[in-house]
Amino acid sequence: MAAAKHLSLLRRAIPAGRFLSTATAAVVDPPPPMVVEDDVISMKGVRISGRPLYLDMQATSPVDPRVLDAMLPFYLSRYGNPHSRTHFYGWESDAAVETARAQVAALVGANPKEIFFTSGATESNNISVKGVMHFYRDKKRHVVTTQTEHKCVLDSCRHLQQEGFDVTYLPVRPDGLVDLDRLAASIRPDTGLVSVMAVNNEIGVVQPLEEIGRICKEKGVPFHTDAAQALGKIPVDVEKMGIGLMSLSGHKIYGPKGVGALYLRRRPRVRVEPQMSGGGQERGIRSGTVPTPLVVGMGAACEIAMKEMEYDGRRIAALQERLLNGIRSRLDGVVINGSVEHRYAGNLNLSFAYVEGESLLMGLKEVAVSSGSACTSASLEPSYVLRALGVDEDMAHTSIRFGIGRFTTEAEIDRAIELTVNQVEKLREMSPLYEMVKEGIDIKSIQWAQH
């Protein structure tokens, strides 16, 4: 009787369906935190002596101090909701949002009424691709895009394919540029959208936006471009380039993370189906409270970018020259991925022949760079962008992307050259393949014996 009572208590204490096991449950420990001792950081099995120098501007950029200065008051005392119509906090917040909207519009040559704030370029891309096609789903069933687009555009297109739409993924030439004749030929009467990104984030290639815009205007198809990497770096004008929709990102132009914008042309009007349902903020295009501090930051970043575009452009081009010459003067077998002429100077994607990619990255821990392949992740597949360019697998694995920005110094470039050249030389010394090449053997002609 007492035993039954104990058992019932026990049953209530343990969730139904679980049996009591004597083995201790496997507890997953959180990853060990960064350990700092004697000014040496130890993290993920790597020891470095200080914070690495940052050369990964395409991943994200540091927030400009002027942008931070513009944002802080809205975290401290001006914290109102811009949609509050009834009191001063709301009015001042709304005024700040409208100022920021005008600043963003000025940078791209648009009307402020055509700018809508979102949570980032990914959301803007989603609204553009899925929103446009869903709105015109009865008449338009086809989308044209390229193979080198950002993952969010490609994934949205795949989503559309699952819903029954047709998508054409245009191949690119080996220099990364899209073939305009193929583009024109692939547009059908039922094409609802053409999406080509302005500046590629991996290889830095600048697509011929004006020509593409002209083709789309002739055929009467809205032209969407993902200008996240292009904003504030190359001049973008929605009128000259015939752009119908454009995705913008805040944290690529020295603004805060978590904010972006969408440009939607008003004449001729491009309609989209909203992806976020709610209170109808941002003219119903994107419901949700507009994050005033982030939006103010993006506006300030756009204003600064407009004033500094020429100065930064000149400087970054000179730094890219310096980096390229520094590496090329000491190493051979260095290949630039993507077109050299039609390229944004701040993005330099290099492949080093006869060097293994993973080991190259392991030796470059004092420089924060990105690799072209996903070999830092679980799969060893090289990046789809490099594959679309037709780059060999072994070269795709050794690609490194150097991102130069407003705050990069000559000393950092020199240090990056030192570290890269040293690491590549060290690896090539150990490489039997490189020895064979130096002796004059053509690697491709070797018959590898099978045991």
Binding site: V36, D39, I41, I48, S49, G50, R51, P52, L53, Y54, P62, P65, R66, L68, D69, A70, L72, P73, E92, A95, A96, T99, V296, G299, A300, E303, I304, K307, E308, Y311, E366, R406, F407, T408, T409, A411, E412, R415
Partner: protein, 128 residues
């Protein structure tokens, strides 16, 4: 003690004053515009030099390597770029702008120092 100057010399000195474009653009609309009105008269050479030196001094106080170098470099390049400005109203507005930006920089020096990381940038560590 300088010997007294003629009126002509004074105006010539004013013309020679180092013109500059502020390295930092103007702040958002919430900044009061009264500075523009008070700067209607062109600044003197001494004032301009003083602003230049203040900006450089403020630059050295940043704890972040990249920001420090940028402020220093942009100040020097900005002043050099606008050496030839001659229109007094543009000089005055640029000077007012520069003063605004000096205030921005001073505030940000404080903010950056409050959150400075404990580990230095590799560029600041003397390597062998």
């Amino acid at each position: 003690m300088r010997p007294s100057m003629t009126g002509l010399e004074i105006s010539r000195r004013r013309q020679e004053s180092i013109e500059f474009q502020s390295p930092f653009p103007s702040r958002s609309c919430f900044r009061s515009r009264s500075l523009m009105a008070s700067a209607a008269s062109a600044p003197s050479r001494a004032e301009v030099l003083s602003l230049f030196r203040s900006l450089l001094r403020t630059a050295t106080k940043f704890t972040d390597y990249n920001v420090r170098e940028y402020v220093r470099r942009r100040t020097i390049d900005g002043f050099r770029e606008n050496w030839g400005l001659s229109d007094p109203s543009s000089i005055a507005s640029a000077f007012a702008d520069g003063r605004n930006q000096l205030e921005v920089a001073k505030r940000q020096v404080v903010v950056y120092s409050l959150y400075a990381p404990k580990i230095k940038n590799v560029m600041e560590i003397r390597s062998g």
